[in-house]
């Protein structure tokens, strides 16, 4: 699966499980947040990514 800030590109090139990331230069982080809050965001994205890996799908899917 892939975490990306630009899901349309991932879907165009054929990725099947896509999770929307934060921003292009930091898909799994946010320098605007306090370190603890940023780590929570990152954990949350990974939880979503793990969820996507466990989800049965029959076509390309953008998870939240």
């Amino acid at each position: 699966m892939i975490i990306t800030a630009i899901p349309p590109i991932a879907l165009t090139v054929g990725a099947n499980r896509v999770v929307r990331g934060v921003a292009i230069p930091h898909p799994v982080g946010d320098p605007g947040e306090e370190p603890a809050a940023e780590l929570e965001i990152r954990k949350g994205l990974l939880e979503k990514a793990l969820g996507a890996l466990c989800e049965p799908i029959s076509e390309q899917t953008l998870f939240g």
Partner: protein, 349 residues
């Protein structure tokens, strides 16, 4: 017009030696044309004379392409032709690969014009490279009568030093070469013309065909996450300090794997961004913002999955050719699978 001396390459089948049972036949060279080669003179309007025919079995060619190249280069150079013709190979993969490789070698090594013909999905198209014209054929030899004159026509023009038109006009596969032409109307008018045709449901021809990408059937879901090995990876160019393997900042020529066993997070200064396509300030400050190692370790410790893979794959996806990306993806996938990894989380910048 003077007659053009040409050498023709055929597989064992078109060389009338035999079928699959003769596929291991080593290359041989014969005087004059063989098989449909005897029709080339007439089909080219009496311009091309096949002085020699080289015939090789498909398996031999596929398994010994370097040896075959060596023999063919020697024979072709000894026959001093003005043109090298291979195929048409149609949909035949081994034959197409031999034809494409040989045409490319003859053109590059000997400076002799080379043409071939095959189906667009034949792997030989790529091997033919940018300098060789590959006429588009259907996937079976039924297309010989239509495609042969097109192939010969381009061959004649190359030798005569005459211009060759666009792929659409001439029936060859686009080589990825851009040629400047002066269009009768400027771009904005052409775009509006196209749009009007599109709105009216009329056929129109785009000037910039969008690439088509492979579709892969989605992998089945992980059934037991708690017992799974998970890997993280990225095309965002997160590499150890100093970029030890020199992954290029754009159009990367490789992917690399780096050990993260026992590493709990990516520290500023220990890892850095090699990617040249985004502002690296945030990720240099904390590389976990692109490759989420710290959070993955926490989830590993919490038992969300059994183990994080001991290394991560990385490349730079910046103006990187789709073909390279496909290759790196395939190689990464194989390496991770061999490692026993069941799920991969990639990040993209």
């Amino acid at each position: 017009m003077a007659t053009i001396r040409a050498v023709h390459y055929l597989n064992q089948f078109f060389g009338q030696i035999g079928g699959e049972d003769m596929a291991n036949l080593p290359p041989r060279i014969i005087d004059g044309p063989v098989g449909f080669g005897t029709t080339i003179k007439a089909a080219s309007g009496d311009r091309i004379e096949i002085v020699k025919t080289i015939i090789c079995g498909d398996n031999y060619a596929a398994e010994n392409i370097e040896k075959l190249k060596e023999s063919v280069l020697e024979w072709v150079s000894g026959s001093s032709p003005q043109l090298f013709i291979a195929g048409p190979a149609f949909g035949a993969g081994r034959y197409g690969m031999a034809s494409g490789s040989l045409c490319s070698a003859v053109k590059k090594e000997l400076g002799i014009h080379a043409v071939t013909a095959m189906h667009p999905v034949n792997p030989g198209v790529e091997l033919a490279g940018r300098e060789v014209f590959v006429i588009e054929t259907k996937d079976s030899a039924q297309d010989l009568r239509r495609s042969l004159p097109l192939m010969l026509g381009i061959g004649v023009r190359l030798v005569d030093g005459l211009p060759v038109g666009s792929p659409q006009e001439e029936g060859y596969l686009p080589r990825g070469v851009r040629i400047n032409v002066r269009a009768p109307k400027r771009g904005s008018s052409r775009a509006v013309d196209m749009l009007l045709k599109k709105l009216a449901g009329e056929p129109f021809e785009t000037e910039l065909p969008m690439p088509t990408y492979d579709r892969v059937h989605p992998a089945p879901p992980l059934m037991d996450l708690a017992r799974a090995v998970i890997a993280i990876g990225t095309e965002g160019g997160i590499v150890p300090r100093g970029n030890p393997d020199r992954i290029e900042a754009h159009n990367a020529s490789k992917w690399c794997r780096y050990d993260i066993a026992g590493v709990d997070g990516l520290q500023e200064g220990d890892y850095e961004v090699a990617h040249g396509g985004f502002d690296p300030v945030a990720a240099n400050k904390d590389p976990d913002r692109v490759l989420p190692l710290d959070a993955a370790r926490i989830l590993e410790r919490e038992g969300r999955f059994r183990k994080l893979n001991d290394w991560y794959p990385v490349t730079v996806g910046n103006v990187t050719a789709v073909r390279s990306a496909e290759k790196y993806g395939r190689e990464m996938g194989e390496a991770l699978k061999n490692e026993g990894v069941q799920g991969v989380i990639l990040t993209s910048t």
